[in-house]
Amino acid sequence: MDFNDSQQEAAFRKEARDFLEANAEKRSIISDKPNDKSPQIAVAGAPETVKGGKEAAQEALERAKVWQKKKAEAGFAAILWPKEFGGYGGSPIQQVIYSQEEHDYLVPSGYFEIGIGMLGPTMMVWGKDEDKKRYLPKMITGEEIWCQLFSEPSAGSDLAGIKMKAEKDGDEWVLNGQKVWTSGAHFADYGMIVARSDPSALKHRGLTYFYLDMKTPGIEVRPIKQISGTSNFNEVFFNDVRIPDSQRLGGEGEGWKVALTTLMNERLAVGDPPGLDFDQIFEATKELEVEDGLAIKNSEVRQKMADWYVQSRGLQYTKFRSITALSKGQTPGPELSISKLVTASKMQDVSAYALELMDSAGMVHHDQNPVLKNLFQNGYFFSAAMRIAGGTDEVLRNIIAERVLGLPQDERADKKVPFNELPSGKN
């Protein structure tokens, strides 16, 4: 057992580190940046939340694009992609190494991950050659941003319950309906969408997959104001949106299969998401005072800290086990499926407890809050979303139970009945 890089890995790490050192700023445990609401959704790729309205958001986007261009020029923007589309042609272990290194730096994130991680790979499998040539290189450089239009008001955890209508009209399709929870739809240039082309077919068989220009007439994007007061997600309304059949990916009725390609490519969650974890609350307990002195000297606090420490490090070492498999050229086992499930609840518990330790000062969530830069107030709200986005705790437990442990699927009422005969209830 050791934690050493192989010679090639060490060389790649140095390359990544040199690039980051020259181009980015190091992150501290508790950031001094007033607007760095660090916790990020690791899987859904929500962009940095930015207070200060549209202008600030636009500036943040421009900064992100500048950063992405640099990263792409250095080759690190799409390490797993083949060279012909502007990627690095690298291996999963190199992706992991880069993510580990980048984790220590304050860099924009949440704009390009869905495109590069999920949608680009979908186009590589299902797209035509001219599409790949036209769209993929600009996805990497950040010149064009993509969003994923899957979830709907009645299709969340049960994703295949999509109702968005796709009706064929000559060599065009007409889309009508609503998508929701679309990260980045408000700044995305293009999107990929699954819609129901045949409501009389079985649920998973009547779907078709397309890509589209977000400026197509009839598309309306409305941000969703979240519990945190900021907006990372959107509702997207489709009103007689016409797109050519040439923008179809996969066959008619094959949409679910194409969607699975997208979902299978959820980016390697091996790099730690910057977040609110043991290290942050450990620092905080050295500053905060409770009735008998510094919080860290209180035995109840110490007991709780120990629980969070073993969860936090347990996840980190679990990643090491997966990285070991990658490094040997093997596919990691199912260990990683536990990551977000543990992380989100831990963040929620840690945040809530830190607020307790602050006592009544924990109530304050003001921009100039001097106490630990609002870190735990932000985490308190953010973690509630994190337990739902990218697969709810409950869906993740089902996935572990069924795919990892091999337990039987729940009985389902929707397997043998045409979609339009299924009971649907209130949306």
């Binding site: 110490r302 800290m305 120990a306 679990t318 090491f320 086990r321 039987p408 729940d410």
Partner: protein, 376 residues
């Protein structure tokens, strides 16, 4: 990065698993559970010893196999899986480690070959009273070359030939007045009283010492430091036993939930049960990863050991306690009968989380070691 056991170590694991599957079935475990007079499985012990498991991490010059601590971790996990009713942990994780790390050359030559061959069994005892052991609670004394006092509970005390204890070598009653002594239990003045434990397959007794001969182990006044270090080493090994036991608890819960039908379907298809088992899996994976880190620290003599060992211990106790209790729950009524095996794991899980200090004590160790590390 190579954060995994080697192919050879995995081969050892497979062999150990197969051997214990054949020789240490639940019937064998129950012979010890059901008979007050039996304290361990003698036949299994001699087979394990013949294969050299007892000497795994003891150097060849002292009669061992001279393999490393990682190999011992691999065996510990299998012993935990099979609920092996042997004094392996007392004799190997504790007694042998004390001698190996702190014994004089003469003591190593005298004790280690006997322990490595399984011919003799050793154990260790600190506690004399209820509650968290602390230096002021140690009343046992060494004076005029004789031990007088009392230890309880002493794990595997009935079976043991040798015992290491902490005793006062002067009368100050503080940390630095305690030294370690090796006691030969086959002598006048040693009286043992059997104690029933929450897991009779892991027995204990109390021992009274009246003018008993003993030899000092390690430096005078260093009992507490030495014990902390050996407990850290043992904590990693125990955490592998716990991970092994937790994994089997989950496997058996899963198996039962797929065989048992209620409301016309497998009970394992109900989300209430699936989510419980998913939670078991999560805790076990975290515990396994923490145990791996402990194994790395142990095998490389890293100064991370105090933190790594405490992390492994806390995580493994949590995983095994949870898996064992929810395994009973998933079995329903039969889960709390004597005939079903659930209680064997329930008993073992709690015993293992108490035997070298409670979970709350180890959580305290973890945080205080993190504080120390930060200062360094």
């Amino acid at each position: 990065m190579n954060f995994d056991f080697s192919d050879d170590q995995k081969l050892l694991r497979d062999q150990a698993r197969k051997f214990l599957f054949d020789k240490c079935d639940r019937k064998s475990v129950r012979t010890i559970l059901d008979d007050d007079q039996l304290h361990y499985h003698k036949e299994l012990w001699s087979q394990i010893s013949e294969m050299g498991w007892t000497g795994t991490a003891i150097p060849e010059e002292y009669g061992g196999l001279g393999l490393g601590m990682l190999e011992l971790c691999v065996i510990a996990e299998e012993l935990g899986r099979s609920l092996a009713p042997t004094p392996f942990s007392s004799s190997i994780y504790l007694f042998a480690e004390f001698i190996k790390n702190y014994g004089s050359e003469d003591q190593k030559k005298k004790f280690l070959p006997l322990i490595a061959s399984g011919e003799k069994i050793g154990t260790f005892a600190l506690s004399e009273t209820n509650g968290t052991p602390k230096p002021s609670n140690v009343k046992t004394e060494y004076s005029s070359e004789k031990i007088n006092g009392y230890k309880s509970p002493v794990s595997d005390g009935e079976t043991a030939d040798y015992l290491i204890i902490a005793a006062n070598s002067d009368n100050k009653g503080n940390r630095n007045s305690l030294s370690l002594y090796i006691v030969d239990l086959h002598q006048d003045g040693v009286s043992k009283t059997s104690l029933e434990t929450i897991d009779p397959t892991r027995p204990a007794c109390s021992i009274k010492f009246e003018n008993v001969k003993a030899e000092m182990l390690g430096e005078q006044g260093m009992a507490w430091d030495m014990t902390e270090n050996i407990f850290n080493r043992a904590a990693v090994l125990y955490s592998f036993e716990q991970v092994g036991g937790a994994q089997v608890s989950l496997d058996e819960a899963k198996k039962y939930s797929m065989e048992r039908f209620a409301f016309g379907r497998q009970i394992g298809s109900f989300q209430a049960l699936k989510h419980k088992m998913a939670d078991m899996y999560v805790k076990i994976e975290l515990a396994r990863s923490n145990a791996y880190y402990g194994a790395w620290a142990l095998s490389t003599d890293s100064n991370e050991l105090p933190v790594a060992a405490a992390g492994a211990r806390v995580s493994a106790s949590d995983a095994f306690n949870y898996a064992a209790k929810e395994n009973i729950q998933i079995h329903g009524g039969v889960g709390f009968t004597w005939d079903y095996d659930c209680h064997l794991f329930y008993r073992r899980s709690k015993l293992l989380s108490l035997n070298i200090g409670s979970t709350r004590q180890w959580k305290e160790n973890l945080i205080s070691n993190l504080e120390k590390r930060n200062i360094v």
